[in-house]
């Protein structure tokens, strides 16, 4: 699977990402109504969640289905810490720390589990978290949720939140590329491709797996905080265990293990169906089929297609100088 930074240096990519973010911030409010701006904001939050899932599932190959739980823990953690009188930055760091700690608490005992065992265990965990959010009324106010959360006072101001979220997502994106292209990223991919061989050359795979859980959970928690800031209210149904499949679908269709894939997948799952509202059920039925087709025929997902098209375009330019390039090489 491709890492986006392969063909670009980190600095070019950083400039590119920041440029795209600023462009989105300037252009989107010109074209989108208040409602669609909010959809765009939610899309950005989903990008964060899928980026988080990318670490553990895409790079690490560990079938974790608990992303929605960390999303919820971050959101409720932040809300409750703020309600306890903490200033926003402290509450935010606290919430991320709680998510990460829970991630570690889930990652450590499940070290021995693989494949569908891990999938089920993390799914059961997500279900338990959801039930706790619903039933622990003393803490979470139950199914009614919590309203009028102060946040940073931008709840409902979709245009201003767009800038906040773009900044956060751009940083999260770059952090992911930086980690993926660094030595840590190599170790993570070694774990995915062959855990035994990785262990044999001295990769501490237990520590690595726990670390992946922690980073994933921290991204999920951050997304939860963003959700609170955007909406100003939360209720458990947003963090239902079934929603974890949506993030999985976004990650797969976009391209597992690709930051660009997270962006494309989230847009395709969150933003596009809002534009095509009239065909709602059809859209998601098609999306389900698309998940199957993508995983069967294009395991690198949409981002893989985009990147290989981009690369073959660049190669074609070069190939004018090199007349000996065969058609076969060009296609590869």
């Amino acid at each position: 699977m491709t890492v986006d930074g392969n063909t670009l240096t980190m600095r070019t990519l950083a400039l590119l990402v920041i440029g795209v973010a600023i462009l989105c911030g300037l252009v989107l409010p010109q074209f989108l109504s208040v409602y669609y701006l909010q959809v765009a904001d939610v899309t950005l939050i989903n990008i964060l969640l899928v980026l988080g899932l990318n670490f553990i599932l895409g790079f690490g190959g560990q079938m974790s289905l608990a992303q929605c739980a960390f999303f919820g823990i971050g959101a409720y953690g932040f809300t409750l810490l703020q309600a306890a009188g903490m200033p926003v930055p402290v509450a935010a760091i606290g919430a991320i720390a709680i998510s990460a700690a829970v991630g570690m608490a889930l990652g450590w005992p499940t070290l021995r589990l693989k494949g569908h065992y891990l999938a089920l265990c993390t799914l059961a965990f997500a279900l338990i978290v959801e039930r706790l959010l619903v039933n622990w009324e003393g803490l979470t106010n139950g199914a009614n949720g919590i309203t009028a959360i102060p946040g940073i006072g931008l709840a409902g101001e979709n245009d201003k939140m767009l800038w906040v979220l773009l900044a956060i997502v751009a940083c999260a994106y770059l952090l992911q590329v930086w980690i993926a292209n660094g030595p840590l990223g190599l170790r993570i991919r070694a774990l995915r491709d062959d855990p035994l061989a990785a262990q044999a050359i001295g990769v501490d795979i237990s520590r690595l797996k726990i670390m992946l859980f922690v980073i994933s959970a921290a991204y999920g928690g951050l997304a939860g905080i963003c959700y609170v800031l955007l909406r100003g209210y939360i209720s458990p149904d947003v963090f239902s265990w079934q929603s974890t499949f949506s993030y999985l679908a976004m990650a797969v269709v976009g391209g597992l293990g690709s930051p660009l894939g997270a962006v494309l997948g989230a847009i395709l799952y969150t933003f596009v169906p809002e534009l095509l509202r009239f065909m709602q059920e059809y859209y998601f039925a098609v999306f389900g089929v698309m998940v199957i087709l993508v995983i069967t025929f294009f395991p690198a997902g949409l981002s893989g297609l985009v990147l290989s098209a981009f690369r073959s375009l660049r190669r074609r330019e070069k190939s004018y100088a090199r007349s000996d390039v065969t058609h076969h090489e060009r296609a590869a």
Binding site: L57, G61, M63, P109, T110, R112, L113, G115, H116, Y117, A119, L120, C121, L123, A124, F125, L127, I128, R131, L132, V134, N135, Q242, F245, L248, A249, V252, E281, Y282, F284, A285, V286, F287, G288, V289, M290, V291, I292, I295, T296, F297, P299
Partner: protein, 293 residues
Amino acid sequence: MLQTFIQIVLVGLAIGAAYALVALGYTLIWNAVSLVNFAQGDLVMLGAFVSVGWLANRLGMPLWLNLVTMLVILGIFGAALAWGIYHPLRNAPQLSAIVATLGLSMALQNIAVIIWGPQPLNFAGPLGTTSVQLFGSTIYAQYLVILAALAVMMAIQHTLFQHTALGRAMRATAQDAEAARLMGIPTARIIAFIFAYATMLAALAGWLIAPLSYVSSDMGVNLSLRAFAATILGGFGSIPGALVGGLIFGVIESAGSFYISSEYIDVIAFGVLIAVLMFRPQGIFGELELERP
């Protein structure tokens, strides 16, 4: 007191029998091709919808014909899944196959909404809301039907597996597909048959529980998660394990929600499951999991 207890156990066993039917489907497919079909629960839903939405409401079929026709339709569908989902991914990593079945689950649920609409359907079943007296406690007769159906299915399955050539071919394929193929068993066809049979089991579960609840596009989601839990509880890959695991999980749920807390029952049941996964991942009947490539 005792009557309440009997009632709780019977209801738990009956719900557990439905889990067991779905869990058997997981087990058979897993044994045959090392694939966990996360869409098994949606096949439950599909069975119920085909039976209620088409055969009963649209065509007004008598119940027995309804059941048989539905099982045939779903059986064909199951065989199609073997070709459409399993076959292309047979050499792909396990992760890909899991993701594909999750995609299938998503597609099936939304297709069901397109075909049968977002409103849940009602199904009276053979008995409606008839209750019976048993050991001094009153329970829905449908619960007994479910238990009886499980017993009948097990008898049929035992005969099929132990006493027919097809059953022997299925067991051989499950044990070692490569060797079975070398012995002249058409494994691809046998695998399609196993998928068909597993799908029919799930669909039967849907037909059986439909009178107890509504038929809705998400009815399979909860059921599949619980059946999956039952499979792990009993020991993945073990047929008696799937049976006993299903029944035990049903009783744990039923008793836990009465005696401890109905709100926290999921927390308790799945907490138990996580504990099982951590301390005895092979479950009650399972063998220790070996590395599967």
